[in-house]
Symmetry: D2
């Protein structure tokens, strides 16, 4: 039972909704940790973009890529990490391995989605619009919960059912997923706003994690509390800004611009030292290095 | 003999000085590749900061960290990669392993420095000011050259001798390093400007790689050509800008700012798609996927 | 162009059939190298058993597992490594990544099979009996050949068509695979003995690699040469013997037996020193370590 | 707090001495787990031999090698793993990282020794005969204990002081190490037999782990209990037998011997299936795979 996992459970039980930092690599996770974020969310998309330079729309990456990335994130950031494990790496057998390795890599929560992994780039269909049967997903979520070595690891049932299916079918899925050992429901979009959230909450008592919460809802803490919206995700501005900064810098230099011209867009020396934990290591040295 | 290594050798033989992109992780290397940079330089410092959140001043990382990072960079970026291997991971025995693993990780050139690795955070002394003997370094460079499995891999003798030692001793080192199998000399600073470069060039016929070239020299291509300054390094603005972008983004969100407010500091959708090679994979699919 | 790959090509062009050492991990590859084996074959099955303790019948492992294993094998064994990449990790898009990473991991040849990966444990059906269409496999093999960064890497088209399909269909496949850029055909069984091999050779001019060559054929070098059987695989006695040795040892100790009783089943001190290359490193030290 | 670590603590508190399986890689750990071993010991020597083919006498490997190996062992074997971390990877700063990564890799206990790592192959001096000062080692052990993220991880102070130093100095060290947060003392040899053990036990109340326990002591459970000898290590017969089996097999085949001749030295099909957990996965499939 890790401290991070215990802490994550307390966050799920809290009276308020907690935002998760949208990180994509060890550096962004380290900076989130420095800034006091409690929860970090590693989305599948940006994890693949930043680490493998492959699109999210077809399975160009695998669970070992994700495990390696989570491992490298965990060792520099002492946060509650939610890992987006896509469809879990295959069927319920594969999930057994996925869950155990992600646990070992230090994650607090593992999202598993009920989508069918496309073998081709989609035309009109999106990455998340083809779904496996409710029965198959129930088996996968039960497997995920059973595979845990640490009972405090949280399995999160992610579903775009509210977006892709008729409402009653969607709620039927959410209801079914709630009795598998999964301990939170993740909605990657709420097309109908409040209505979707209220419906989901009526279908399940589990805490909800929501991506793309409309602005008026973000500030309606009474509504969020009443419907157990415990975690909210924030899109990917951090990745987008990192890409722009790197691109602008390398473009400027490639075009023959002087490095000095980029000075005011760079982190201060103080911030850089904070990232690499210079002071923490110095204190450690002061305390423990005797020669 | 890899194409990248052959290309790197042609760059070292060119009439002009080539700048190297200051990258620190797979994402920055991928973007450098997109922008048409031929050479990428992975400095030890930013490699450690970004991937391990540890300082450069004491050996908190090891050669396996560097090998793993180079491997992950090579698989997303088809460039000539110069890896800064610090002091090579120990003595000449360790270098044998370091060189072979870095080669396998796809690098074109490996810098090995003649500094003594500190066990403590320096007070007045810097990371690069304590040096091993010339004889020991000659043994290490000979070992590095002998350890290569691919004769086109370039061993780069890095030395701060020109900054740390009397001029004659410094030149004596450069002369000695030139007869070890190393095929380039890397100067991490040129305190005396033109004088240092001219002296170094008189001491060795090998191509020079220089960090911190003064602005007037950058544009004096005749001088650079006359003294075989073949590669120049550009400091770390790219890392500094990435840190600032990530920090600003996560700070803004942590303080309750809306993600939308960060829109104009993010990469465009088009740039993001270029990073993840969507079009390249689509063409690949068009050509090869038959079901 | 690595020396190992050049050497592998010379083996494929040789007048005689070369056996491949059936290795499964770095230790067995190191010992094969010591014994002078030129070619090592890493089968998918034993690679999974020994490194992941998962069965071969369902996809419990992925291409990153294989890449990591090949990388660890390559760094201790300077041999020509043939990697069994199963179905290549998915469709032709996935193969692009698989081929590039296996190349980077130092393999000389990559086998890609035309089977359909089962999602369930087979009842009567075996791991290799369900096949994808000829057209799909042709696309995958063309993709594999096109994805190479090193033109000397050999793509091997593996097919159980001769065992699973009517003869004319099987030969039609072999013929088609021969025009994709694949440069060898691998037959994981020859049910009809000489007849299968002769038929395959008439369908293709490419070198053949055969598993389970009957004893009378092993010694008929004229027949093998006439039909371009260039490489033969030998089953998995090495893995089977390692498992038995480890099991017997740990069983004996678990039952309270004295370690001393196991003395004569252990390698000599001399053999152990050869495995860890003590002498090689000592010579290296003698030559290069100056302090 | 992992189950394995809790279990390891109960073993240290037990009335009897528990032997540890001498494993060296994932396969041997998996087989130990199958056979019901509770504790596995990964010695530095065989870990390096089997995975890297490098000698133990000079630092050709680093902590990342060990972490990777422990990670791969942990994912296939659900046992209490004692990792021999040699001198911890450097000074007390390095230990901070070593401990955290080994914890993340799932080990239950971490041995840290008070020896000075040689830079050269020893002549008359052995790998363990040069020692750092007591004060430095106390700092390192305190650092190791403080660095833990999981308070149930056990730091083991390993020392050859009883072999290398005068008795009073050796006991003084053991006494000092006992007040650092280390929770067990590891003796890699007991030259004076009972006398050494009794002296060590008088110097410390901590549980002892002993390598090379003389046969008469192994069976004297009253003595072991009276002196808190809680864990005993058994040398490396398992590695030695695996090397011999692999060598014999590859030698036989290289010399043209038929694979069939090796039949009775191989594991049975039943044993092989047990290693790869076929039945466990089948049950899992039965229970959870719904399509």
């Amino acid at each position: 039972m890790s401290k991070a996992r215990e802490h994550f459970r307390s966050i799920l039980a809290r009276a308020t909704c907690t935002p998760a930092a949208p990180i994509f690599d060890p550096l962004s996770a380290r900076i989130a940790d420095m800034l006091g974020w409690e929860v970090c969310k590693l989305s599948g998309s940006v994890g693949k973009f930043a680490n493998l330079a492959v699109p999210d729309s077809v399975p160009m990456s695998n669970m070992s890529d994700l495990v390696d990335l989570c491992w490298r994130i965990s060792r520099v950031a002492n946060v509650c990490l939610i890992a987006d494990a896509d469809e879990g790496g295959g069927n319920a057998l594969n999930i057994m391995r996925t869950v155990r390795e992600l646990e070992a890599a230090g994650v607090s929560a593992i999202e598993i989605e009920d989508n069918l992994v496309p073998r081709r780039f989609g035309g009109s269909t999106s990455r998340h619009s083809l779904m496996i049967s409710k029965e198959e997903q129930v088996g996968k979520l039960r497997a995920a919960a059973a595979a845990r070595r640490d009972p405090t690891t949280v399995i999160v049932a992610r579903t775009s059912a509210l977006t892709e299916l008729p409402l009653d079918e969607a709620l039927d899925r959410i209801r079914a997923y709630s009795h598998t050992g999964a301990e939170a429901i993740m909605l990657p979009g709420v097309r109908r706003g409040r209505a979707d959230i209220e419906a989901a909450h009526q279908a399940t008592n589990l805490p909800l994690c929501v991506l793309g919460l409309p602005l008026d809802l973000v500030n309606d803490s009474a509504f969020l509390a009443a419907n157990r919206v415990q975690i909210r995700f924030l899109g990917q501005p951090t990745y987008g800004m990192a890409v722009k900064a790197i691109y602008d810098s390398l473009k400027h230099l490639k075009d023959g611009g002087a490095p000095e011209k980029l000075m005011d867009r760079q982190a201060s020396a103080e911030l850089l030292r904070a990232v690499d934990r210079t002071e923490e290591f110095k204190e450690w040295e002061q305390e423990y290095v005797r020669e």
